[in-house]
């Protein structure tokens, strides 16, 4: 706007200027014309063509007087008197003739009586010539007659003289007037010219000042701009279509060493390169840059620039078109982004490392938890069995503690497994229809005992009446509720826990459940992290509260997986309120109601089961467990017996020990599967004391349902029978399982792995050394050390070692001294192999 305004103001100036210039030119022409006129007039005056009339007339008078005097002298004796008279006569005659003939005087003469007078004089003179031309002797006597003719002429001459005076005066007056008029005109024109010139000068002065002001402003702006450009860390170059660098700021000049030794700047094609689609680089020309900017300013990060030392570095380029001296040029800003790219790459790498670490950690956690769960189930199974034996009061009390602690440990391991599974995005929702009111009751009833122990009441409130049947994943919802409740109970002593469930908008799928307690509450600073994994509220004050710190993390993960929301409000010292909003649709009329799994195993219909086990105690336990759950059980002491029994009888399920004297479990199973008969399609479950070391490849071929670790636990058995647990671990019979090592490398920092390995090799060396001493007395071998070493071997994937140790453990357990010796004999060599392979696997990293 401003510039347009300025343009208008300035554009009027040239118009005024041209008018003034035109005027000045006209006046100047007028001046020149008048000056010329004056010059010519003055020239006329110098030429004085007519001015000598006065003189000529006066000469006429003089010559008349001289003629009269010469005539009077004719009577003298002087012999030259006649000659003189004749000369005077001729002179006078000539004067009169000249006056009459000269064009100078004709104008003046014709306007007066002078011409007449002159002609009368000449007539008189012509009359006298006859006498004058006579010889002297005739001339002398004619003196009187001549005088009589000459003397009267003086009167005529006098009148001519007067007339000429008048004419001269008139003429000079006219001349003066004309000259004065011309001079006046000249003066006026000159004044006008001067005025025009003054106005012109004023205009020019104004313009000059204005333009000088603008020039100064421009220079200031230019200086400022050039300072800005030269202090800029970006490299700025101006490029013409012929790839020449017309201008460059200091940064560009230095960075690219633009100025050569001859003062010429190198072309842009030597500096700027572009990475094309093929991955190679090509120089960027000025014409191409300008073409690229044709549709507006161009930004490009795929550009490389050559530094002064020849190295290429990545730049971000911002280019735009400009005009210089009427041609298109390209202004380019080049910014060194090598550091930025490096930082970006580093961040990405760090992020990848973090993600990989997190995943590896989760995998590790999952793996370890799984490995821990198996032996723990064994422990709990034995405890269960022990519980059914005759014990004294003290033993039973110990057993209870063992049971409780074991259960707690199992819960935590299960939590960790759940969490890692959920965290890996592996939560698969099992949708069904269930009774939400019953579910709430069930969740609470499970915790009433625990709450009672803390002198805490649990109250269920459903203010809007029963919520009825809903659609959703029953087990997950239950887990969420139990976790929240258990959390509330854990942190409340002698208080109140209130569960309130509502459907805020009847038509909507949302159900909101609030679990409020009057417990110790959560400090404000812990609130944002309360749903993070392994975070426990009141870490300082709550050291006495057991738990993994995973409960709320699982809640969050599950709620998110279900598409719900979870939140918490709390005042420290007064209590907390956890709320969840879960998408649980009201079940439609024709939805099939999913049966709630009974914790007692009553959900499995009675089965016909064959238990094949050579060990009487184990066979007895398994049979008792199955019978108690209402199944019909047949027993076989060996593979052969089992084959015999399955020949005619039909069984739903066969529970079979793998290792038996005679026909082992695998062979027996193979025969049952291959031989036509009523048991051919029976469900097959293996039992083993060496769950880590069995040949799973072989087992898998038999289409079995599950493989269970001995000793058998009731709950595990129930779950397997209900089809909730199954599957066979993958085969692993390498000296060292490379995959395990790989997992460890992914999961652990190198130094930690190194330290662990060192500890393991030290442990192994010590163990093998110790064994050498104990060779003589196998009964004294410490079973716990064997077990511990086996665990370590499992951790590092030393499968053979683990297997051998397992068998050793087994033999020790059974007190089979011969087998113990046998197993011990091979250990030192196996250990050496394993150690060598472990080192190799580690170094393969």
């Amino acid at each position: 706007m401003l510039s347009r305004f300025r343009f208008k103001r300035f554009s009027r100036r040239p118009f005024v200027l041209s008018i003034l210039t035109g005027l000045a030119a006209v006046f100047l022409l007028g001046c020149a014309f008048l000056t010329l006129q004056v010059y010519f007039r003055l020239d006329d005056l110098t030429a004085a063509r007519s001015d000598n009339m006065q003189f000529t007339i006066s000469r006429l008078e003089v010559e008349h007087v001289k003629l009269q005097s010469a005539a009077e002298n004719l009577n003298n004796a002087d012999p030259t008197a006649t000659d003189t008279f004749r000369r005077r006569f001729d002179a006078f005659y000539n004067r009169v003739n000249t006056l009459l003939a000269s064009p100078l005087y004709t104008g003046a003469l014709s306007n007066s009586g002078m011409a007449q007078d002159l002609r009368s004089i000449r007539t008189s003179l012509d009359e006298m010539t006859a006498l004058v031309d006579q010889p002297d002797d005739v001339l002398r006597p004619a003196r009187d007659a001549l005088l009589a003719g000459i003397a009267p002429l003086s009167e005529t001459i006098q009148s001519i003289s007067w007339a000429s005076l008048g004419i001269a005066a008139e003429r000079s007056e006219a001349e003066r007037a004309a000259l004065a008029r011309t001079l006046l005109q000249l003066a006026v024109i000159s004044l006008l010219l001067i005025a025009a010139l003054v106005a012109l000068s004023f205009q020019l002065w104004t313009l000059f000042r204005r333009y000088r002001q603008r020039a100064l402003e421009n220079r200031t702006t230019l200086n400022r701009l050039s300072t800005i450009l030269n202090t800029s860390l970006d490299h700025i170059v101006v490029i013409d279509p012929d790839s020449r660098i017309i201008e460059a700021n200091a940064a560009a000049d230095v960075a690219f060493a633009l100025s050569g030794p001859d003062g010429q700047r190198k072309p842009i094609t030597d500096v700027l390169l572009r990475r094309n689609d093929a991955g190679t680089t090509e120089p960027v020309s000025g014409a191409r840059l300008i073409e690229a900017c044709r549709n507006g300013p161009n930004r490009c990060a795929k550009v490389l620039a050559r530094r002064a030392d020849g190295l290429l570095f990545p730049v971000e380029m911002s280019a735009a078109l400009a005009y210089q001296s009427g041609r298109e040029v390209c202004v380019c800003y080049l910014r060194d982004i090598s550091q930025r790219l490096a930082a970006q790459k580093e961040i990405e790498a760090a992020r990848d490392r973090a993600l990989a670490g997190e995943q590896a950690q989760a995998r590790f956690l999952g793996m370890i938890s799984h490995e821990m769960r198996t032996p723990l189930n064994g422990i709990l199974g034995v405890v269960d069995l022990l519980d059914e034996t005759v014990l004294n009061v003290e033993q039973r009390r110990y057993l209870r503690i063992l049971q409780s602690a074991g259960q707690q440990l199992l819960t935590q391991i299960n939590d960790a497994l759940d969490l890692t599974q959920a965290g890996n995005g592996r939560v698969t929702l099992d949708r069904g229809v269930f009774d939400l009111d019953a579910l709430l009751e069930e969740a609470i009833s499970g915790l009433i005992a625990q709450a009672g122990a803390r002198d805490t009441q649990i109250e269920l409130r459903i203010p809007d009446g029963p919520l009825g049947l809903v659609e959703g994943d029953r087990a997950r919802v239950l887990q969420v509720l139990v976790n929240l409740l258990s959390n509330a109970v854990k942190f409340t002593d002698g208080g109140q826990v209130t569960v309130e469930a509502t459907r805020p908008e009847p038509a909507q799928p949302w159900v909101e459940v609030q679990v409020a307690d009057t417990g110790r509450g959560i400090p404000d600073e812990d609130l944002p992290h309360i749903f993070n994994d392994f975070v426990r509220a009141g870490n300082i004050a709550g050291g006495d509260v057991p738990g993994s710190g995973l409960g709320l993390g699982i809640v969050r993960t599950l709620v998110q997986a279900m598409g719900g929301r979870v939140g918490v409000e709390s005042i420290e010292g007064e209590g907390s309120l956890f709320w969840v909003r879960l998408p649980l649709d009201v079940a439609s009329e024709n939805s099939v109601r999913a049966p709630a799994p009974s914790p007692t195993g009553g959900d499995v219909p009675p089965l016909r089961v064959l238990v094949v086990e050579d060990n009487d105690a184990n066979r007895f336990v398994a049979t008792q467990m199955l019978l108690k759950d209402g199944h019909r059980v047949s027993e076989a002491r060996s593979g052969e017996e089992a084959l015999r029994l399955t020949q005619d009888a039909r069984f739903d399920l066969i529970l079979m020990d793998i290792r038996m004297p005679g026909l082992d479990g695998l062979e027996t199973a193979r025969r049952i599967r291959t031989r036509p008969g009523p048991a051919q399609a029976a469900r097959l479950i293996f039992l083993t004391a060496h769950i880590q070391t069995e040949n799973y490849q072989e087992i898998n071929d038999l289409n079995i349902e599950a493989i269970l670790a001995k000793p058998l636990r009731r709950t595990v058995l129930r779950n397997v029978l209900a089809g909730r647990i199954g599957g066979v671990p993958p085969a692993n019979s390498h000296t060292v399982d490379a995959r395990v090592m790989e997992q460890l490398r992914d999961t652990l920092p190198a130094t930690t792995l190194e330290a662990l390995l060192a500890r393991f090799t030290e442990e192994g060396d010590r163990f093998v050394d110790g064994l050498q001493k104990e060779m003589g007395k196998p009964s004294e071998v410490d079973i716990s050390r064997v077990h511990k070493f086996a665990g370590s071997a499992a951790t590092f994937g030393a499968s053979r070692l683990q297997e051998r140790l397992g068998q050793l453990e087994d033999a020790l357990y059974q007190g089979d001294t011969r087998r113990v010796r046998q197993e011990l004999a091979g250990l030192p060599k196996l250990w050496r192999d394993t150690r060598a392979r472990l080192t190799g696997a580690r170094d393969a990293a």
């Binding site: 110098t46 030429a47 004085a48 063509r49 000598n52 000469r59 010559e63 001289k66 004749r86 000369r87 005077r88 006569f89 001729d90 002179a91 005659y93 000539n94 003739n97 000249t98 003939a101 000269s102 064009p103 100078l104 010539t129």
Partner: protein, 166 residues
């Protein structure tokens, strides 16, 4: 050529001078003589007649004058030619008319192609009554430089004496 003419002229001049001692008139009774005088040394005056001037290189032109009506043809010799012929190359020249009108100018004023000592007008000798016998004229029409007051005042008619002062 010039030397020959000059030689002839000098001898002729001397001859004329001796003749003028006997009679100061020209043979032609209408032809009046031109008297050349030298003021600063003892050289004798020389009287020239139109016939004498005829021996010198002739010149002529046509022009109008302020004092005559219509174009006139003047014939005669350049005054510069005459002055050179009698050996005058500098000094002051005084020209005098029969009515005693006189003008004075430096010899170099009368350059060749400028001042013509005319003694024939329109093919006729000029009578004393009509600006003769000698009239110093310039070709006024041919050159504006000749139309000045100074030249007009030098344009002397009825010329009968020339005085050279060195």
């Amino acid at each position: 050529m010039l030397i020959v003419i000059r030689f002839c002229l000098i001898s002729l001049l001397f001859g004329a001078a001796t003749a003028s001692l006997a009679a100061a008139d020209c043979k032609d009774q209408f032809a009046l003589p031109l008297k050349m005088e030298f003021s600063d040394h003892d050289a004798e005056s020389v009287v020239l007649c139109p016939g004498d001037l005829d021996a010198l290189p002739q010149a002529s032109f046509e022009t109008t004058t302020l004092w005559t009506n219509g174009t006139q043809r003047f014939e005669g010799v350049w005054l510069a030619t005459l002055l050179e012929a009698i050996g005058v190359i500098d000094g002051e020249i005084t020209l005098r008319a029969i009515n005693d009108y006189a003008v004075t100018a430096r010899a170099e004023t009368f350059e060749e192609g400028g001042a013509l000592l005319a003694y024939r007008r329109n093919g006729q000798p000029m009578s004393t009554r009509d600006k003769g016998p000698y009239w110093l004229v310039w070709n006024y029409d041919a050159n504006p430089d000749f139309r000045t007051q100074q030249i007009y005042s030098l344009s002397i008619w009825q010329l009968d004496r020339i005085t050279v002062s060195r």
